[in-house]
């Protein structure tokens, strides 16, 4: 087992090293110069050169790569070109918005999707099932930003129950901060819940066709008991895998929703950094996301191996 974990760790390190080289190269190829963006159209060549030197952009690329990657290893993401503050600080600030938002949205997704999906599967081909399938089809088809605008129109402009956007910060109190996250979380959760409910439904239907379910029924359990005790747990495995993917999407893939609600989240940080060519921020945040996905995968693999000894032999 130890040898297996060692091999997986090595491959994790290699993956991260390759990813960092790719991310760095892509940022090098990207047209546009951070100094030009900062100094604008009246900048003189000598001023641009001075600013490039300040940013350290006058040094050769391999040297800059090593400095950046070395810094990352020590937890130092460098200094943002635009904001002139450490990237770690920027990321930490944004995490306080993105992480709670992702968690709330994922909780809502789960709370909606699992009961709804299970219900649809249990009552296959009934009116309920058709209703759920139609509703989730609409949920997937309607873009979440459009849905977000509808929510703003109803709850912020007409009813004035919730703010139209922005984030007051957790220092302003838990309630005002949560209030600011309600509409974006709902807008994010509904399409995700639609996807997850469908996964839940088909996964449960698959398990309901398994032999052990028939055995359970033959043993004399009612249909509801079978679903609850035997089928549901097994059906949840693919659902959990999808949820894991959804969480990483919700953490940084919410650029559009963050724009609609002008939330200072991680997605908008990356977006803004790309347009301003704050490349050091882009590189570091992308690496952070890569690292989190790779580490989660590593944990999952080790977890599978712990459960199933056959997996340890294959690398």
């Amino acid at each position: 087992m130890l040898a297996y974990v060692g091999r997986r760790l090595l491959s994790l390190a290699v993956t991260l090293a390759i990813a960092s080289a790719i991310v760095f190269t892509v940022m090098e190829i990207l047209p546009g110069d951070p100094a030009e963006v900062m100094l604008g159209t009246n900048a003189r060549p000598d001023t641009l050169a001075a600013l490039r030197a300040q940013y350290g952009l006058d040094r050769p690329a391999p040297e800059r790569y090593l400095a950046w990657a070395g810094g990352l290893l020590q937890g130092d993401m460098g200094l943002s070109y635009t904001y002139s503050v450490p990237v770690t600080q920027l990321v930490a600030e944004r995490m306080w918005v993105s992480l709670p938002l992702a968690l709330i949205a994922l909780t809502l997704t789960t709370l909606i999707a699992i009961p709804v999906g299970a219900l649809a599967a249990a009552k296959r081909n009934s009116a309920t099932d058709v209703g759920v399938m139609t509703a989730t089809q609409v949920g997937i088809a309607v873009p979440n930003f459009w849905f977000a605008m509808l929510l703003v129109l109803v709850f912020a402009i007409t009813l004035r129950w919730l703010p139209a956007g922005g984030f007051p910060g957790w220092k302003a109190g838990a309630w005002p901060a949560l209030k600011a996250l309600v509409l974006p979380a709902v807008a994010l959760a509904l399409p995700q819940a639609s996807i997850l409910a469908r996964v839940m439904r088909s996964s449960l239907l698959d398990t309901l066709g398994e032999d052990y379910v028939r055995t359970a029924r033959a043993k004399g359990l009612t249909r509801a008991q079978t679903v609850r005790r035997h089928a549901l747990r097994n059906a949840l495995i693919p659902v959990l895998t999808i949820m894991g993917l959804q969480f990483s999407f919700l953490l940084a893939g919410t650029i559009i929703i963050e724009n609609v609600f002008f939330l200072p989240g991680l997605g908008r940080l990356v977006f803004q950094a790309i347009t301003q060519r704050d490349l050091i921020v882009v590189k570091s945040v992308v690496m952070l996301l890569v690292a989190s996905v790779v580490v989660v995968n590593f944990l999952v693999e080790v977890g599978y191996a712990a459960v199933d000894p056959r997996l340890r032999r294959r690398v």
């Binding site: 009246n42 900048a43 000598d46 001023t47 030197a53 635009t82 600030e93 944004r94 402009i157 002008f262």
Partner: protein
């Protein structure tokens, strides 16, 4: 049951008290304001970044210059109480205000002025407008309240230039940290900056001049036009001084809670032509395009009718303006004939590069349709800012682009070597050099007119319209600027009520 009635009653009572409290609170004028801004400033040091968003927060509020530009675009005294100009126009003596302190408590005096000006023109300067300081030969501290600035040649607009955001006075003690902790002399200090969300300014209790009426001002960053609409409608922001969505202005006009003020900016929006590249090396082609484009259709389509037409690179509200909008009347037939004469075949393909602003993206589509009518196929190439700056502005790798030049009185760009539209005319250059060295008002106006006419005559670019400043704010809010002679949000006169 009785219990429930009591609960309902007590709720009603609480609601009543809350309502009463709110009523009392609204009787006294509010002391805070929340302004929506489209772009977040990258940092807060106007002497180290070109982004207009920096000046929109700090100019006149946090930082002040020797002179300042007021709401009408006029030069007014600021940290310099008054000044004297030598008869040869080469020496400016500034008499400074006394008793002025920076936000960190250090004194402001002549040495800070010398430090600021020397820093801006130093070899390692990162000032985005270093050109403003190029005419300076030497800065001399006469006494703590007097500074003498010697110029290499007379510079007609020197006092105006010293009022720009990039020329604000900073202190040697704090200059290095101004990006994140701006320390100026203005009526507001930076309170908090929640990055990505808002910037809060607080009143400076030790301000040398008339104290601000507001205790607190918040700049809320709202990039999305639809979100800007929602934030105003929901009352999350009190004003959007530069409102980004002309398409839904009418809804605010119909709502008595809001005031809609359409003013002007210095943003000369042009269809720039690459004068250094065929077919635009031929003046007939440039003139043909000037006739092919229908300004009014562009203004109506891209700007929903907001924006005044221009006929040269000059804003109508500025002194010395000549109306040249009739120089090339819209005439597709004449344009077609000119193109034929110049040997431009029908169906010629050109690249029309469009930067991100809406005026460019929308305007570009309309212009492409108009060009198609005279036989030019414009291929629309959308680009983001950074790419536009390197591809179009630096490398001049384009045929056509739509862009707004927001710097005031920037006729100098037509005299610059290897500027992106690559206009080379020694006659114009001589004209501009004469203008730059002229301080006499009457002579300046005469030269300004000649310069505008020359640019229009040579059809350097197709001149479209002046970018409007659409301001929307709470009807009770007073004192915001109607026009934007420079892109700023001066809060010194902003207050609530009568």
């Amino acid at each position: 049951m009785a219990h429930r009635i009591a609960r309902v009653l007590s709720l009603a009572l609480v609601a009543g008290i809350a309502g009463f409290a709110a009523g009392v609170a609204s009787a006294a004028p509010r002391k805070d304001v929340t302004l929506g801004v489209r772009l977040e400033p990258p940092h807060l040091d106007p002497t180290a970044g070109a982004a207009a968003a920096i000046g929109e927060v700090v100019y006149a509020n946090v930082f002040e210059g020797l002179t300042r530009i007021d709401r009408n675009g006029a030069v007014k005294p600021a940290l310099a109480e008054r000044w004297e100009v030598s008869p040869d126009g080469r020496t400016y003596t500034f008499f400074l205000r006394k008793g002025v302190k920076f936000h960190d408590g250090t004194d402001f005096d002549a040495s800070d002025v010398k430090f600021t000006l020397d820093r801006a023109r130093a070899a390692d300067s990162v000032n985005p407008q270093k050109g403003l300081f190029a005419p300076i030969e030497a800065v001399e501290v006469v006494d703590p309240a007097t500074v003498k600035v010697a110029l290499k040649q007379p510079t007609g607009r020197f006092l105006f230039d010293m009022g720009w955001a990039a020329a604000v006075i900073v202190a040697p003690e704090s200059a290095a940290d101004n990006r994140t902790k701006p320390v100026g002399t203005g009526p507001f200090t930076l309170a908090t900056w929640a990055k990505g969300d808002r910037i809060e300014l607080a009143r400076n209790p030790n301000y040398w001049g008339r104290p601000a009426a507001l205790d607190k001002a918040t700049f809320k960053i709202i990039g999305d036009p639809t979100a800007a609409f929602a934030a105003l409608m929901a009352g999350d922001v009190d004003a959007f001084p530069i409102y980004p969505a002309p398409e839904n202005v009418d809804q605010f006009k119909a709502d008595p809670r809001f005031k809609v003020v359409v003013g002007n900016t210095e943003g000369k929006t042009i269809l720039a032509m690459n004068n250094g590249r065929a077919p635009f090396t031929d003046i007939r082609v440039r003139r043909a395009l000037s006739q092919a484009v229908d300004r009014k259709a562009v203004i109506d389509g891209a700007m929903y009718g907001y924006g005044a037409p221009i006929g040269s690179h000059f804003a109508p509200q500025d002194k010395g303006y000549v109306d040249l909008t009739g120089r090339y009347p819209h005439d597709p037939k004449a344009a077609q004939a000119l193109l034929k004469e110049a040997g431009v075949a029908a169906g010629t393909r050109l690249r029309l590069v469009l930067p991100p602003p809406d005026y460019a993206r929308r305007g570009g589509e309309i212009i492409a349709a108009q060009l198609r009518k005279v036989g030019i196929e414009a291929e629309l190439v959308p680009m983001e800012w950074a790419q536009w700056l390197s591809e179009v502005f630096k490398n001049r790798n384009y045929d056509l682009t739509v862009i707004s030049h927001v710097e005031p009185l920037d006729l100098d760009i037509y005299a610059r070597e290897s500027y992106y539209f690559d206009y080379k005319n020694p006659e114009y250059k001589a004209l501009y050099d004469e203008l730059a060295a002229t301080s006499d008002e009457g002579k300046r106006i005469e030269l300004l007119k000649k310069a505008q006419e020359k640019i229009a005559d040579d059809a350097v670019n197709v001149f479209l319209f002046l970018l409007p400043k659409i301001g929307i704010w709470n009807a009770e809010l007073k004192g915001l600027w109607e026009n934007a002679p420079i892109p700023v949000n001066d809060l010194t006169e902003v207050r609530w009520g009568e």
